[in-house]
Amino acid sequence: MKHLKSTLGGLALAAMLALTATGNAVAADKFITLQSTTSTQNSGLFDYMLPIFSKKTGIEVRVVAVGTGQALKNARNGDGDVLFVHAKPAEEKFVAEGFGVSRQDVMFNDFVIVGPAADPAKVGGMKDAPAALKMIADAKAAFASRGDDSGTHKKEKRLWKAAGVDADASSGSWYRETGSGMGATLNAAVGMGAYALTDRATWISFKNKGNFKIQVEGDKVLFNQYGVILVNPAKHPVVKKELGQSFIDWVTGDEGQKTINSYKLNGQQLFFANAS
């Protein structure tokens, strides 16, 4: 029995060491948790921008990249210090309900409608996004929706409303809700030859394009504004108020704004700084 006991003891010790080691690693660093969206993460903007901030301030930024809907929910639970998302009405509601201190514009990019080269709904080159969606609906051409209450999904729903189409009624036929992130939805769209609404940054950095291309772009309603919010320490005392605020000050300040404008992928600028 001696063997068994010492083995079990060793295992317990090892497990405890593993746990405390990770615990220490987390506690030792000066960091904030940023609840953000897949578009900013997948486009590579954070990989470019955050090291510059960290180097200057010594604050590590840990990004949890999820849909805007989930990011808002996580922040509502106090699981994050700063929100960096793109769904202005939902963000304003978040602040109005007292979960955020205040909301500031940071930057924008725009949404585009991508589709197969064959373009079954013949929307290629159109500018009017709602009109294009109406044609897609009339042609019953496949359309892949995020269906996950993300910022992109919220925008898409507003566009369907403007087009006067009840897309939800056709859910399961030509209107397909993937219930997944932007990348997964694009993979699905490419896989089944469906149109999809995506932000331009994600599309440019997306590698599995197949024969897809941008079919509709340039409409003012496709404008995609990003905002930044400090989670309210009054609601959740664990929020790192000073560290979070210094990130917000930086990203909306001169240096942060310049950094955003200088980020290019394949020679294209992806985000346009517009903090006031």
Binding site: M1, L4, R62, G78, D79
Partner: protein, 235 residues
């Protein structure tokens, strides 16, 4: 098929270039999943052996429960652990969310039912063989339990392997409670999910191949141990 060829060559390039980021991700994967497997085995093996040997009230319920929980979807576990560890949840004060510890907890919850159910089977078989001898020695319940666990040690390796396999392969739980934070909580499976979402399927698959490689290495090492055991008729 070009994607597959590309993935294989990419996987080899990644391995032989000794990519620091990759090494970090691989090490964290191993650390999280091995720790979780260890914790789950300590709980599950004791519990499984107890269910195998003893008759106690609630044993039947426990048996059904562990068998049912073996198929627990990782995303459900992830969600439950998230709600517990969230700052809005009961254990928020520990500040464990988005840390490797949270991932270890989630995977421990996932693996414990498997460790319990499989251990119960191993120990029940062994108990049938040993029962009369151990009772002839007038062994107490605790000594019976430890004797069977120790003598089943090499069969229990298979149990640990099954648990590790489930832990290291799952993405649903760790991506929720870990947050897939670069350099902090990014493991193989969440990295694969991320590359897939970027549409970089070749890189995602390459990472998948490396994950399979890790899994094969761990299995081979333990199987070699079992081979020795078999030679000694300890199995």
């Amino acid at each position: 098929m070009q994607d597959f060829a590309e993935s294989f060559s990419l996987a080899f390039q990644l391995i032989f270039s000794a990519d620091a980021d990759l090494a970090e991700i691989v090490l964290l994967s191993l650390k999280v999943s091995l720790s979780a497997t260890m914790c789950a085995c300590m709980i599950g093996m004791s519990l499984g052996a107890a269910i195998a040997i003893f008759r106690f009230p609630g044993r039947g319920v426990l048996l059904v429960l562990t068998n049912a929980l073996m198929g627990l979807p990782p995303v459900v576990v992830g969600l439950a652990i998230y709600m517990l560890l969230s700052n809005a949840g009961p254990f928020g004060t520990f500040q464990l969310l988005y840390s490797p510890t949270a991932m270890i907890i989630a995977q421990t919850v996932l693996v414990t039912p498997i460790a319990t159910a499989l251990t119960r089977q191993v120990i029940a078989d062994l108990h049938t063989e040993y029962d009369e001898q151990l009772r002839s020695l007038a062994l107490g319940p605790f000594a019976t339990l430890t004797t069977l666990l120790w003598d089943g040690r090499f069969s229990l390796i298979t149990v640990a392997l099954a648990g590790f396999g489930r832990a290291v392969a799952e993405v649903g739980a760790v991506i929720i409670v870990g947050g897939n934070i670069n350099h902090v909580t990014r493991v193989m499976t969440t990295a694969i999910a991320l590359e897939t979402s970027k549409g970089d399927l070749a890189l995602a698959l390459a990472l998948g191949l490396i994950l399979i490689g890790i899994s094969i290495s761990v299995n081979a090492a333990l199987m070699a141990l079992k081979g020795t055991a078999r030679r000694f008729a300890y199995e």
